[in-house]
C-alpha cells in the first residue's frame, strides 16, 4: 500500500524540478513551495500546484520549517521532500513533519542530528571500526598547540556544526593556529549555532571519494558505488564522476564495505553519502562525514547504476523494502557531471545573477541536462548560482570527457557570466584526462 500520494517539494531550482519529474513518473501529485522570487519558475509551473511560502530571502522562506510544514498540511500533502541545501539536513523539519503526521523523505531526525554533528559522527565512525583522521576537539581554554603538535602541521580547523566544505580553515603553524581559533569559533557560532571546533590532520595529496548508500526501514543496507569529487574550489565541488578513476579494486571494495558498515552501525535510513578522504601518496583512506540528503552529484551514480535515486528515496520513505540486493547493483560505463554556474570567474567567482537572453544546451545522445532554466528566465541574486548540471555517460572515461567538452563548446548562453571556460579548461587539461587529480589541483593548476 502506498501511503505517499502527494509530495510537498521544499526546494527550488533544478532539484525542485528533478523531484517534481520523479514524482510525476511515479504517479504522485506535487506541490512546490516557492519563495516570491521563484513563483514563475519551471518547478512551480510543472507541479500540480505551487504556493508562495514567503519573500525571496531564504531565511524568510526556504529556511522556515514552520512555513514548510504549514504549507504541506494546508495543501493536503502526505510527504515532504527537502532536496539538498536549505532544510534538507534540518532535524527540526524532520521532527516537525513527523509530529504533524507527514512523511519526511530522508532519515529520521535523530540520524540527521548525528550526521550534522561532525564530531559525534567521527566518534561513531571510529566505534564502527572505520578509519578516521587523527584529530581532537578544542574547547575554549584547551591547549590547541599541543593537540596540533601531536597531529602535525598544516592542520585543519573544522566546525563541528559545519560540513559540506563549510567552516574549514587551514593553519600552517602554531602562530597561525592561535590567530585564527577565536575567529573560527565565533564564525562557527554565527553560521551553525554551534561554537565547537576540532582539529583534523590535513592530507596534502588528497582525493575526495564518497560512497552512495541506500538503507530501507527493514534493515537492508546497500551501496551504489563511489564517486570522485576531487575537482574542488574552496572545498566546493566543481566536477564529479563515477566510478573513481585509477582506484584499485581493493581500495574500492574496502571503501564501499566501510560505508555500509558505518550506515548499518548508526541505523541509517534512506539515501546517504559517506565521504572519505584518500591519501593519494599512501593509499590510506579516512572517514570525513556522512551526508543525509540527495547530493547535487547524484546523477553520475544514476547513470552508471541505471537507478533513479530520487524515486528510491520516495520508495524507501513510503516504507517499502529496497527491492534489490547488493548483487543486483551493477555498474555500466563512466559518468561525469559538471556544474555550470552563473559566476564571474575573472572577478573572484562572484555570482552573476541576471536574465538569460539566450540559453540552449545541445541535444546530445550521451548527455543529460538537469536545469530549471530556459531563455528568458531570471537567475535571482538570493540563492546559489547553479544553472545546470551537465552529465555525460559513455563507455569509457575519455569518451565521456569528450561528450562534456562538446556540450560545453556548443552551449549557447548570454545574459550572465558563467564558469563554462573554466570547466572546459579542466576537462581538456592533461592532468585531468590522465585520471585522478587532488583536491587542491584546480586552484593550483587552473585558477
Amino acid at each position: 500500500v502506498n501511503r505517499i500520494k502527494r509530495v510537498f517539494v521544499a526546494n527550488r531550482g533544478e532539484i525542485a524540478l528533478r523531484i517534481v519529474t520523479a514524482c510525476q513518473e511515479l504517479g504522485l501529485e506535487t506541490v512546490v513551495g516557492t519563495s516570491e522570487a521563484d513563483r514563475d519558475g519551471l518547478a512551480a509551473r510543472r507541479a500540480d500546484r505551487a504556493v508562495c511560502i514567503g519573500p525571496a530571502p531564504a531565511g524568510e522562506s526556504y529556511l522556515r520549517d514552520d512555513l514548510v510544514v504549514q504549507a504541506a498540511l494546508g495543501t493536503e500533502c502526505d510527504a515532504i521532500h527537502p532536496g539538498y541545501g536549505f532544510l534538507s539536513e534540518s532535524p527540526k523539519l524532520a521532527a516537525r513533519a513527523e509530529e504533524n503526521g507527514l512523511i519526511f523523505i530522508g532519515p529520521p531526525p535523530e540520524v540527521i542530528e548525528l550526521s550534522g554533528d561532525k564530531l559525534r559522527a567521527r566518534d561513531e565512525a571510529a566505534r564502527a571500526g572505520v578509519p578516521i583522521l587523527p584529530g581532537k576537539e578544542i574547547a575554549p581554554g584547551d591547549d590547541a598547540r599541543q593537540a596540533a603538535d601531536e597531529i602535525g602541521y598544516p592542520v585543519l580547523v573544522k566546525a563541528a556544526g559545519g560540513g559540506g566544505g563549510r567552516g574549514i580553515k587551514l593553519a600552517k603553524d602554531g602562530d597561525e593556529l592561535d590567530s585564527l581559533l577565536s575567529l573560527a569559533r565565533s564564525e562557527a557560532g554565527a553560521a551553525f549555532g554551534d561554537e565547537r571546533l576540532y582539529l583534523e590532520r590535513f592530507v596534502a595529496n588528497a582525493r575526495h571519494l564518497e560512497v552512495q548508500i541506500a538503507a530501507d526501514e527493514h534493515g537492508a543496507v546497500v551501496h551504489l558505488g563511489e564517486r570522485d569529487c576531487s575537482v574542488q574550489r574552496r572545498y566546493q565541488k566543481v566536477i564529479e564522476e563515477a566510478p573513481a578513476p585509477n582506484l584499485d579494486p581493493g581500495t574500492r571494495n574496502a571503501l564501499t564495505a566501510e560505508a555500509v558498515a558505518f550506515a548499518t552501525a548508526i541505523v541509517y535510513r534512506n539515501l546517504g553519502t559517506v565521504e572519505f578522504v584518500l591519501d593519494a601518496d599512501t593509499a590510506e583512506y579516512f572517514f570525513l562525514e556522512i551526508n543525509c540528503r540527495i547530493q547535487v552529484e547524484h546523477p553520475v551514480t544514476e547513470a552508471v547504476t541505471g537507478r533513479d535515486l530520487v524515486k528510491l528515496q520516495i520508495h524507501i520513505a513510503d516504507g517499502h523494502p529496497l527491492g534489490f540486493s547488493q548483487n543486483d547493483v551493477t555498474f555500466d560505463g563512466h559518468a561525469i557531471e559538471c556544474r555550470l554556474n552563473a559566476e564571474d570567474v575573472a572577478r573572484g567567482f562572484m555570482p552573476s545573477p541576471g536574465t538569460l537572453s539566450l540559453f540552449s544546451v545541445p541535444d546530445l545522445r550521451q548527455l543529460r541536462v538537469d536545469t530549471h532554466l530556459c531563455a528568458g528566465a531570471t537567475i535571482p541574486p538570493y540563492y546559489d548560482s547553479l544553472m545546470a548540471k551537465l552529465v555525460a555517460h559513455a563507455e569509457g572515461r575519455e569518451a565521456t570527457i569528450d561528450v562534456l567538452l562538446e556540450a560545453l563548446e556548443e552551449l549557447d548562453v548570454e545574459g550572465v557570466e558563467t564558469n563554462r571556460a573554466l570547466l572546459i579548461s579542466v576537462l581538456a587539461h592533461e592532468d585531468f584526462r590522465r585520471g585522478a587529480v587532488s583536491t587542491v589541483w584546480l586552484e593550483r593548476a587552473i585558477v
Binding site: 516570491e36 509551473r45 504549514q70
Partner: protein
C-alpha cells in the same frame, strides 16, 4: 465562463506587468494563448531538454486577479479598490475563535491598525491589520483556507 473585453484587457495588463513571456489558459470551451515580445521562444534558444520543453510553458495563470508577480503591498488598483494581502503563508481565520463573530464583514469601516483576520502558522496566531483606511468591499479567501504569502485577503474601498 464568458469573458468580456474588460476581462481580456485585464488579463493582458497582468501579463504585461509580470515577468511572464507566455500564457496559456485552457478551460471548457475557452482557450487563450498569449505571447509577449513577438519573438519565437523556440527559435531564440530554449534548451532542448525535457525539463524545459515549449509545451510545458506556463500552464498556471498568475494566482489571483491582482497579479501574483507584484510585491504584496496594500495598494490601489484599476478598479479603484485597495487590497490587503497576506503578510505570511498560513491558515486564514476571520474570527478570534470558532463561534466568535468575524473581525470584519463586508461594509465594515477599517483604519490602518484595525485587526482584520488571523493567520495561523504552526499554532502561532498572527494578527493582520488593514494597513489602509476604508470600507471592506470583499473578503476573498474562505475561512480556514491556506493563504499564500502575498495573496489578496480583502478588497477595500479607500476612504
Amino acid at each position: 465562463v464568458a469573458l468580456s473585453d474588460e476581462d481580456i484587457r485585464e488579463i493582458l495588463r497582468i501579463i504585461d506587468e509580470s515577468a511572464l513571456t507566455e500564457l496559456q489558459i485552457d478551460t471548457e470551451g475557452f482557450s487563450l494563448h498569449v505571447r509577449k515580445g513577438g519573438g519565437d521562444a523556440e527559435a531564440s534558444g530554449r534548451p532542448r531538454v525535457r525539463e524545459a520543453s515549449q509545451r510545458d510553458a506556463v500552464r498556471h495563470p498568475p494566482v489571483g486577479a491582482e497579479g501574483s508577480a507584484s510585491p504584496p503591498a496594500p495598494g490601489a488598483h484599476s478598479d479603484g479598490l485597495a487590497t490587503i494581502t497576506a503578510p505570511m503563508l498560513g491558515t486564514f481565520y476571520r474570527a478570534e475563535a470558532p463561534g466568535k463573530p468575524p473581525f470584519v464583514e463586508v461594509g465594515a469601516g477599517v483604519e490602518p491598525d484595525t485587526i482584520v483576520c488571523i493567520i495561523e502558522v504552526m499554532k502561532m496566531m498572527n494578527s493582520v491589520t488593514a494597513g489602509v483606511s476604508g470600507t471592506i468591499a470583499e473578503v476573498v479567501p474562505e475561512n480556514a483556507e491556506l493563504v499564500e504569502y502575498g495573496q489578496v485577503l480583502f478588497r477595500v474601498e479607500p476612504a
